[in-house]
């Protein structure tokens, strides 16, 4: 069996499963946030009763992150609904906005708080829940109805996906990152190239990646239609997970004779910095081919590109320079935001580097990655053109319906900020 099949079989209480089978499985963690939590809670109460209790309060994480720093009264009301539910259900893991426990972007917070554990199953009411596959677990996005079902029963049905395997051979060249790898893959197989399938990443090019880079890779599996992205745990995974939780876990891997739906090999040395053009993450071109694209904004943030290593990479490029276009930095979480004042490059903190370069730092949340209410930090207006470290560039995704978003790595976005137009980072460093 493949890694994904093994985890599903184990959670279905069966010796084995085959792709295409529908099975009911146990859920180890359910995550929801401020946008989908209220709807989930509503369905849960309608279906299980006003007095119903969640199946296991220690397995539910409420991580508000989408619409936090806004005056929108409906958004604030949604936070109230989460708050009341956490209190009523005595949920220990509510990372409330406006509290010392506030975290920020849920997918990064899940890892920081020890919810991402090899061999387990994690479901979340957010399509980028697949990020957690970086830790060798089965993690996927669901809607409110499925989440409500899990809340009441701790179980859900899944169709066992076939697995597509992507092997990265060799070490990535300088200035080529996990973001470039996943954009290249999505460009090659298309926005529906992995629909209903698991995307498993392996090879020495993956093993050399740190956990945050692996998260970036798995994060965008959904942009190829993937049900989940997954990377078998190794010593780096084990070290990270043990530093964040004392939960016991196993580290399953695909069998040598596992049946894959397909295998695609990449030689790391053939890869280069790339950009996804509007309006699809699959619309990929080399960064060097887009030098004519002038930018109104550079955006560095989100679960894809707002982790500490992402911001360090951007700061390395911006250190000592001045941005030539509006540049905003949104740390994914409070921990990342704190680290900006501690981590240094050549004696200067990352915060100082960003500020000296003329970039503006916003509070940790999803912010303008998905547009949001009109007062959202970094939201695009009119026909603005933005280069962003985020994951989607659909029409109107970052705000105005007339805006255009290009997607790239933190290195490419930072290099482009210095030039005011799309720039291959190898031309700056």
């Amino acid at each position: 069996m493949t890694l994904t099949e093994k985890i599903i079989a184990e959670h279905a209480g069966r010796p084995s499963v085959r792709p295409g089978e529908n099975v009911w499985i146990r859920v180890d963690v359910l995550m929801t946030h401020d946008v989908c939590g209220p709807g989930t809670i509503g369905i849960f109460k309608n279906q299980f009763g006003a007095d119903a209790k969640v199946w296991d309060p220690f397995k539910v994480a409420l991580i508000p992150d989408h619409y936090i720093f806004t005056k929108d009264r409906h958004a604030m009301r949604n936070l109230e609904i989460l708050r009341a539910f956490a209190k009523e259900q005595r949920l220990p893991y509510m990372y409330d906005a406006d509290s010392p426990w506030y975290k920020g972007v849920c997918h990064v917070a899940l890892a920081e708080e020890g919810f991402t554990v090899p061999g387990q199953t994690l479901f979340g009411t957010d399509s980028h829940t697949c990020t957690a596959g970086a830790f060798g677990e089965f993690a996927t996005g669901i809607g409110n109805t499925d989440a409500a079902f899990i809340m009441g029963t701790g179980r859900i049905w899944v169709k066992v996906p076939e697995t597509l395997r992507f092997i990265l051979e060799g070490t990535l060249p300088d200035f080529v990152t996990a973001k470039d790898v996943i954009l290249r893959i999505i460009g090659d197989i298309g926005a529906d190239g992995a629909t209903y399938r698991a995307m498993e990443f392996e090879g020495d090019g993956i093993r050399t990646m740190d956990m945050e880079e692996r998260m970036t890779l798995c994060n965008m599996a959904i942009e190829a239609g993937g049900k989940n992205g997954i990377i078998a745990a190794d010593e780096k995974t084990v070290a990270f997970v043990k530093a964040h939780t004392d939960k016991a876990f196993t580290t399953p891997a695909s069998d040598p004779d596992a049946a894959f739906a397909g295998t695609v090999k990449y030689r790391a040395r053939d890869l280069e910095p790339v950009v996804a053009k509007p309006f699809s993450p699959a619309n990929v071109a080399p960064a060097r081919s887009l030098k004519d694209v002038k930018l109104d904004q550079c955006y560095i943030g989100s679960c894809t590109g707002g982790k500490l290593e992402d911001l360090k990479a951007a700061a390395r490029v911006l250190a000592g320079g001045r941005v030539r276009t509006r540049t905003v930095v949104v740390p994914a979480t409070v921990s990342v935001a704190h680290a900006l004042s501690i981590e240094q490059i050549r004696g200067r903190t990352l915060k100082r580097i960003f500020e000296d370069a003329g970039a503006k730092i916003g509070p940790p949340s999803c912010a303008a990655c998905l547009g949001g209410p009109p007062d959202t930090f970094g939201r695009l207006n009119g026909s603005e053109v933005c280069l962003s470290t985020t994951n989607r560039n659909f029409p109107g995704r970052m705000g105005s319906p007339d805006s255009q978003t290009y997607l790239a790595s933190p290195l490419t976005v930072a290099a482009s900020a210095l030039k005011g137009r799309i720039t291959d980072p190898r031309d700056v460093l």
Partner: protein, 186 residues
Amino acid sequence: MSLIRGKAFVLGNDVDTDQIIPARHLVYNLDDPKERKFYGQFALSGVPIHQSGLPNGNLPFVEPGNELSCFSIVVGGRNFGCGSSREHAPVALQMAGVRVVIAESYARIFYRNAVDGGYFIPYECRVSLPQEIRTNEDLEIDTDANLLRDLSTKKEFPLSPLGDVSAIVAAGGIFEYAKKHNMLGR
């Protein structure tokens, strides 16, 4: 025999959930009957206007100020519903009066939400219907025969059988299905 009739609203490939319901509207509570209606009003409001109501485009799915659309069958191409897991998307279509979506293929979370929430029937058709059907044409779906008839052009198209999910669709959603099969115990 069960027949569903309605007017067609035709879209292209890769209609993502930001197009189906732009993120700024996601603040409304799906659980509040009054706020839930807003989703009908904003359904498909993020579709670029030249692609809205093909082949001519430039047709809003819901007339400004209305909550219901005059189109109850949405026809799409490949990868319909890609992107976010927001269940607000299938709800928005349902609240606007959509009873059936027919696409060449779906993104899985949207498909699953449509089925498990029981909002409308998501049919697949191997034919690329946006090339065959025009917005405003009268359609008829025979759910027993898995057949789509374009009453305006008299053309017929086979729909893929619902397969594994047909029992959940027939029950009206995952909860109704689970109750029927006594699965809601722990």
